[in-house]
Amino acid sequence: MVLGQKLAIMFFLTGKIMRFVFFFGFLFFLIVGTKTLVGYDSNQVIFFFLTFNFVDVVAQFFFREVYRFRPKIVSGDFDLTLIKPINPLFQSLAGGADVMDLVTIPPLLFAVFYVGSLLNPSLLHVAFYVLLLLNSLLIATAFHILVLALGIITMEVDHTIMIYRDLTSLGRFPVDIYRQPLQGFLTYLVPVGLMITLPAKALMGLVSLPGVLASFGLGLTAVFVSLRFWNFALKKYTSASS
């Protein structure tokens, strides 16, 4: 790897870490000043924030290839993906994991583990948390498949994926802070609440087994719908520029 590329990676990594530290610092001093946020104490608010970061970084790590999808559609290079003996969805979705994100996952995992332990969860609640995190990744997968499918139909990926990122970033704080109907929108329609707030609440003992099962039902439905949409979009691909 040439020096310029190494430096570019260093810049991005430093930027990501700095952004996390700045926001964490803001959150910390905010809670010091206000004591609680919609009834949650400082450790709980920080745990919501860490859970958001964990889901966000893991999704970026696995699905970085989605960010590179648009040029393939615009140039017609997606033809080359289609003729390869590998599932085109898998290639487009997870064909290029991001090593940069891999670097940030272990310390984040440690922080989640440490702050989570300060909340004194029971073993059952930890199990709920882990299960719901897996469900979060299912929903994130569904979103990324939808973005790819939309990319085939509209050739617009860059902003769609960033809008997804902006929507999920509303989960940096528990969705309880949002007023209705935005709260309902973020809980059911764009399930940021299910992806981030619900797992964190489960660790705090605020979610029951039916809640976990219903959440999984929604996650699986989202994946099913997104796969159907992907198949529909593939039929619309015209290979126009190739």
């Binding site: 310029g4 430096l7 803001f26 905010l30 617009e156 809008i163 902006d166 949002y178």
Partner: protein, 267 residues
């Protein structure tokens, strides 16, 4: 002057050539405002609460103020300078009878005009939907001071972004990386566009107020809210002006050194 007016018109028209892109960009801005608005709305759900020197009216005015001041100060086209240098496109501009910086500053102004037009519409829509209490500044002198501080902020940001864009003279691959680090991470976090600087401890505030970043968003809004005035305003404006001079001198030096090592890669 006429040629820059034409550049302004062309740049303005170009933005409409990519309507979907522009609308998506504005939608993203609205989402970012949602996060900050509802956070503070939740913190100040108790109407009489005063935290960090803000009451509910002033903090929600701060959030709405961010929307407008951001559109004026942080919207810019000159991030593309880095691409011009990295691809060798810069050579085309150096041969033309125009000032390269004036060219990009004109394009920045057109971007700011377009963004503020949309921001005002978004402001009105969100104001009608969210119905926040809003602090209307009625003092003419304070409003004038606010406008001056926004003008100064625009100059600081433009000079800063020009400097950051020169990185590809030495490392073509670092164009976007350096912008990400400085304009996306540092400016976004330390300018006050995510949170007001006075949430932080006194010592951190004092250190930050020596840097140019809080003068981009935080300082103008504080002036509008009437939280900064008199001697503090003069002191802040003096520091801002000093930064413009320092950044301009740095830019001139870096640009002339950069042109000497420029190899027009890709041409």
């Amino acid at each position: 002057m006429n040629k820059y007016l034409q550049i302004f018109k062309i740049s303005f028209a170009q933005e409409f050539a990519y309507k979907a892109n522009f609308i998506m960009w504005r939608v993203r801005n609205v989402f970012q405002i949602f996060l900050i608005f509802f956070l503070w709305d939740a913190v100040f759900s108790d109407q009489g609460r005063v935290v960090f020197g803000y009451d509910r009216t002033k903090i929600l005015t701060y959030v709405f103020g961010v929307m407008l001041v951001r559109a004026l100060v942080l919207s810019s086209k000159s991030v593309d300078i880095a691409r011009d240098i990295a691809t060798g496109e810069l050579s085309n501009y150096l041969l033309r009878p125009i000032s390269y910086f004036k060219y990009w500053f004109t394009r920045d102004v057109s971007s700011k005009v377009l963004n503020i037009m949309f921001a005002v519409v978004e402001f009105a829509i969100l104001y009608l939907i969210l119905k926040p209490p809003f602090y209307f500044q009625t003092d003419i002198f304070t409003n004038l001071s606010f406008l001056i501080s926004v003008g100064v902020a625009i100059l600081i940001f433009s000079t800063l972004i020009f400097i950051v864009s020169t990185v590809p003279f030495w490392a073509p691959e670092l164009g976007w990386g350096s912008h990400f680090l400085v304009t996306v991470v540092v400016v976004e976090s330390l300018s006050g566009s995510v949170f007001p600087i006075d949430v932080l401890p006194q010592l951190v505030q004092r250190v930050l107020m020596i840097t140019p970043f809080p003068y981009l968003i935080y300082f103008p809004i504080q002036v509008y809210l009437g939280k900064i005035g008199g001697f503090q305003y003069l002191q802040g404006t003096l520091i801002s002006l000093l930064w413009i001079v320092v950044l301009w001198l740095v830019l001139r030096r870096v640009w002339s050194k950069g042109l000497k090592v420029y190899q027009a890669f890709g041409r």
